[in-house]
Every structure is written in structure tokens, then in C-alpha cells.
């Protein structure tokens, strides 16, 4: 679960990481009110769940209240890469002397949190890693003892900071380490950390992505998690209990298992575009499969649906009942091809065939996909 910048900054502030004075606004009038409170000049930043908002015109400076109103009105009406802007963060503009990068992420292979710092603030860390790897320093953190303050200082010193600044910035990094652990973060990032010409230090931007699996430990976030999904179909699928990713094609997919789902997607992609990725998880029921098919069919242009499921942990005969029920009730006309193997496969085949599904009794997914395209061609 990714938090909005303004939400992340609330958390950062609570955890001892200074952020610029400012507030979120959801209308241009509200933005002007905030501006009066905070004082000019200001920066107005789109709150949107996609990167590259700066280049897309989602971050602007405002020198007077008129500009605040105009700019926030404009940004609030924007769509950035297909994502709706959900608010604007109206913040005191900083006089930048120096920009740094502080971040924490998971070093998956080592299975430890990693702290990364760089003297290149304001650009993506991946870009710095490509262009100036020597400007990056990083260490791994002990999962029981957490980031130690001297480790934070060790890293910050490598950024060339001395004296008071060394002390303050390492303190911020240390607090980021505690925040990372206490909030079950996957990514926590301050980019840039700004040192102003007045010598003050602020997290000018804040990224906080919380582990979805940990939300039971964070009830205040859990409540927001579903409404937070920007895509309507993805949100609906979440309620059904399946994982759905909206893609730009027209072949609907329903698979049990993410690996199988991706492999299926890859194979379909050789001849056509998948409309979605959909993974049922291990809790298949009649209702779940019915819901899954309905979500897939919500897209207008679906030409066919391919179902690829295994009866290992899942009762696929139950799932089959859900599929045929939806075909009947919703009067689905597009061809549905299924490959269903494992426990009770014969029973499953019977149900599906009776309901009008073309069943491919074969263990190779590629063969089933060939059959799907053969049928589609026939229909043309």
C-alpha cells in the first residue's frame, strides 16, 4: 500500500523527520486558504499515485494567491498517465542549498532492509545508480536490532557532511530506520532531503510504501487500503477476493496461480493482447469464480476468455459451477476456453462443457491457447 506524499509526510513528521510547512487541499479555494496560513512563496504538488508528475506539469511554484488558485485548479483537474490527481499539497517553497537522497528498501536476496544514501538528491536513485554509482552508499540492517545510529552516521559521513549537519542528517536517517520498521515499510524514501540556504533541513518529498501483508498490525492504514486502489476494476476484484491487473488488450484471462497466470499471459501475448491478469489465489469457491468472470467481462471489448486452473489446493469443480452460472445468467456470448487439471478434473470438465465452455484436456497451456485462437478465427 502506497501512501500519498501528504500522508507519508504526516507519518514522517510524527517520527522526527522534519517536513516543510504545508497542507493538502482538495479544491482551489482550500488551496488558497492553506496558502494564507502557510505564507508565500509556495510549491503546489499533485497528489497522484504515479511517478513523473514533475515532468507532466504536476509540480508548480506560486508567488501569489492568484497563482495558487490558478495552478491548483489546473493541477486538480489533471490526469497524469491515466491516474486522477486526488489533491494538491500546498507547501512552503524552500531555498535549496543542497539536495540529498535517503532511502530504505528491502534487499530481497539477503532478506534484510537496506539503507541507501546518495549525494544526488531529487533524481531517482536508479538513475544515480546507473550514472554515478560512486555517489551511492548503502548498508544492510540487522532485523532484530534495527538501524543503529552510528551506522546512520557512517553513511551520512560518506555524503561529505560534517559537524552539525552530519549530526542532524544522521539523526533523520536513524529516525527513518525506526519508521521503516515500525510501519512495516517496503520502501521509505526522502528524495530530496533539502538543506536550505538558511541551514534548515527538510524532507521535501516523502515516499512510504507499507507491506500489504502487515496491515493487520496497522488498522489505521488497513481501513484505507481498498479505497486506495485507483483502478475501479482492480478495486472490485479485490472485493471479490482475486488479484486483477487491468491491461490494454481484449482476451480475458482467469488463472489459478500467479506464475501460471504470467506464463499464460506471455503465451497469449504472442498472438493477441491480454485484457487483464487475474489470479484466483488458493481460496477458490463457486462465488469467487463467478465474481472473477464478471470482473473480467466488465470490459466492453472482450473477444474471448481463457480459464487456466489447477485442482491442487483449489476445488475446481466448485469454480466451474460459478463459471457456468455466470455464462447463463449474464448471457455471455464470447467464446470461453478452459484448461482445468488436477483433483476432480473429470467432474469439472463435465460441468464446464455442459455450460458451453470449450474444455481442452491437455497439460500444455500453449495447446489450449492455440485452440482458443482457432475458435476465434472460425468465428470471424
Amino acid at each position: 500500500m502506497r501512501l500519498h506524499e501528504y500522508e507519508a509526510k504526516e507519518v514522517f513528521k510524527k517520527c522526527g523527520i522534519p517536513v516543510p510547512e504545508g497542507k493538502v487541499a482538495f479544491s482551489s479555494e482550500e488551496a488558497v486558504r492553506v496558502a494564507k496560513e502557510v505564507g508565500l512563496p509556495l510549491v503546489i504538488k499533485a497528489q497522484v499515485f504515479v511517478g513523473g508528475r514533475g515532468k507532466a506539469g504536476g509540480v508548480k511554484f506560486a508567488k501569489n494567491l492568484k497563482e495558487v488558485e490558478e495552478i491548483s485548479d489546473k493541477i486538480l483537474k489533471m490526469d497524469i498517465k491515466g491516474y486522477k490527481v486526488e489533491g494538491v499539497l500546498v507547501e512552503k517553497r524552500l531555498n535549496i542549498e543542497k539536495e540529498l537522497y535517503l532511502g530504505m528498501t528491502i534487499e530481497g536476496s539477503a532478506g534484510k532492509p537496506a539503507v541507501i544514501v546518495s549525494s544526488e538528491g531529487g533524481v531517482e536513485i536508479e538513475e544515480t545508480a546507473r550514472n554515478y554509482p560512486q555517489r551511492i552508499s548503502s548498508i544492510q540492517v540487522n532485523v532484530f536490532k534495527g538501524l543503529k545510529s552510528y551506522e546512520a552516521r557512517f553513511l551520512v559521513k560518506k555524503l561529505g557532511l560534517k559537524g552539525e549537519r552530519l549530526f542532524k542528517v544522521s539523526n533523520i536517517l536513524y529516525n527513518l530506520g525506526n519508521l521503516y520498521r515500525n510501519y512495516d515499510a517496503l520502501i521509505a524514501e526522502v528524495n530530496p532531503l533539502v538543506i536550505t540556504t538558511e541551514g534548515e533541513i527538510f524532507a521535501a518529498d516523502a515516499v512510504l510504501q507499507v507491506d500489504d501483508s502487515s496491515l493487520f498490525r496497522h488498522p489505521e492504514l488497513q481501513a484505507k487500503a481498498i479505497e486506495r486502489i485507483p483502478d475501479e476494476l482492480e478495486r472490485e476484484a479485490k472485493n471479490v477476493g482475486v488479484t486483477y491487473v487491468n491491461l490494454d488488450g481484449d482476451i480475458g484471462l482467469i488463472c489459478s496461480g500467479a506464475g501460471l497466470g504470467m506464463a499464460t499471459m506471455d503465451m497469449v501475448r504472442r498472438k493477441a493482447k491480454p485484457a487483464n491478469f487475474l489470479e484466483t489465489g488458493g481460496g477458490m469457491t463457486k462465488e469467487l469464480m463467478a465474481g472473477a468472470l464478471r470482473v473480467v467481462m466488465k470490459k466492453k471489448n472482450i473477444r474471448a476468455v481463457f480459464i487456466n486452473v489447477y485442482g491442487g489446493i483449489n476445488p475446481i469443480h466448485e469454480g466451474a459451477k460459478g463459471v457456468v452460472e455466470v455464462i447463463k445468467e449474464d448471457k455471455i456470448k464470447v467464446p470461453i476456453v478452459a484448461k482445468a487439471l488436477g483433483n476432480r478434473q473429470e467432474e469439472t470438465w463435465g460441468i464446464l462443457e455442459e455450460g458451453g465452455v470449450k474444455v481442452v484436456k491437455e497439460s500444455r497451456t500453449s495447446k489450449a491457447i492455440e485452440e482458443l485462437f482457432r475458435i476465434l478465427k472460425e468465428r470471424e
Binding site: T105, I106, G108, S109, G111, K112, P113, E124, I125, E126, A129, R130, N142, V143, F144, R181, D184, L186, D211, D212, S213, S214, F216, R217, T243, V245, L247, C255, S256, G257, A258, G259, L260, G261, M262, A263, M265, D266, M267, R269, P274, F277, E279, G281, G282, V309, Y310, G311, G312, I313, L341, G342, N343, S363, R364, T365, S366
Partner: protein, 292 residues
Amino acid sequence: MAILINENTKVIVQGITGKVGSRQTRLMLDYGTKIVAGVTPGKGGEEIYGVPVYDSVKEAKEEHRIDASVVFVPARFVKDTCFEAIDAGIKLIVLVTEHTPVYDAMQIKAYAKTNRTIVIGPTTPGIISPSEKIKIGILPGNMFCPGNVGLISRSGTLTYEIAANFCEGGIGQSTAVGMGADPVVCTNLIDLLKLFDEDGQTRVVAIVGEVGGTEEEIAAQFIKEKMSKPVVAYIAGKSVPPGKRMGHAGAIVERGRGSAESKMRALREAKVKVAEMPENIVQLVKEALREI
């Protein structure tokens, strides 16, 4: 011989009285797995398919020899369940539970390492060795057959499909292991490659990877420098758009890492033959076996 397990491996089921735990206990018993006990706090004294249930691993251990544990408890209890098994001296844990918090997985991984315990997972379908008639986890037994290919997979059902393809092509498995599909898994690809490289029964190793993380890239380096047996691979997720999480918590191409292309490139540079479609891996294994 298989890796990690054999026909004499004595197994306990942690979370045996739950819906999944009890059903999978039945399937494991049917396959031949020697399940000696189950553990569910508060249900000590009951029986599940003839398997005695205890309140704690310690109590089970007083009555039985235990070599391995398989964990089916809800995600929020996973960390403590694994710590209990580790503290009781169990040296192999198969952690099936999905949605374990990543921080907990990291702590389990660290604690297991300190205590020289192997934890497979989280989110693993398990381990199976058809020739030893043992499976630990949820892998469906009828899709696997005995042989000399070591199969390592980050997926569940895709593993079944590939195993079935293998069997149809006359290729059996020495052991098949699901690594788990989370951002942090407790046993890395490279650890399993080492085990297969030392295993007498295994002649070729097949890797079923997917987008996300850097396991395959790190393994490629190892294969190039240290591995003596031939390795073939398939990587799922070539068509995954960046930034989209594909069902598995670990299956995400982000921040410039973990793309299928990067993995395939690294493996090919290590002279690993990489299949374009899952079923093609069967052909690659056959070729590798011929070339040995």
C-alpha cells in the same frame, strides 16, 4: 537420494486442525509422507486422520522423532510458529502460508540462519520427491513422477504444469521444490542449486523463475562459476508491465530491477538454456541429458 527430504523424513504439521492443514495432511498421508504429529495450541489430545495433535512442538518432540515441519497457520502467527519449531531444534521447515509480513519473513530468515535451520517459503507449495514417496506441502502428487531432474520453482501451479509436461515427456524429478513467491524467501535459489549439485540422483536442474527480485541474476553468477551440472530455465512474466504487481508479492518489476529480460540475459550469459514457453523446458532438459 533426493535433496532436503527422503522416505524416512518424519514430519509434523503446524496448524493441523485448520481447514487447509487437515485436508493437506490427508493428501500428504495418502502420498506416503510420514506425518508423526500435528500441533495446534488448545487442541492437544485430538487426532486428525490418526495423527496425534499436541499443544506445542516441544510436547510433540517428547513423543516423536521429528525431522521437518510444515506450517499452515494464519499469516499473523507465522513468525512465532516458525520460532517455536526452530527453538525445538527442527532443521527443516516448509512454510506454506501466504501473506506473511515481509518483516516477519526477514526475522525468520535471520533466526533460521543463526540456528542452522532451513526454511522453505513463505508462500511455498512445498517439496516433493516422487521416488522417496514423500511430499511436504500442497504440491499435487499425481503430477510428479520419479526421475533425475531437480526442479526449482518460484511458482505453485506453474510448477504442476511443468512437472506434468515433464512426466508426459518421460522425464521424472529427483526433487521438486517451490521456493515461494514473496519479496523475501528464507531459502534462496542459490542454496537449492548447491544442494542439487551435490545430490547423487539429480543430473540436470530446471529453474522456473519469474519477474521480480534478483534471485535468478545472482544464481546465474553462481551457475557460471561453481555449478557442475547443466541447468535449464523458464522465466514467467515477459509481458508484465513495470510497476504492476502480478499476484505474487514478489512478482513486480520496479525501480529498474527484476525484469524477465534481465533474468534471461543473465542466465544465458551463464550458458543456461532458457525456454520461451513452459513446455519447451522439457526439450531443453532432454538435450541436456543427451549432452552429459
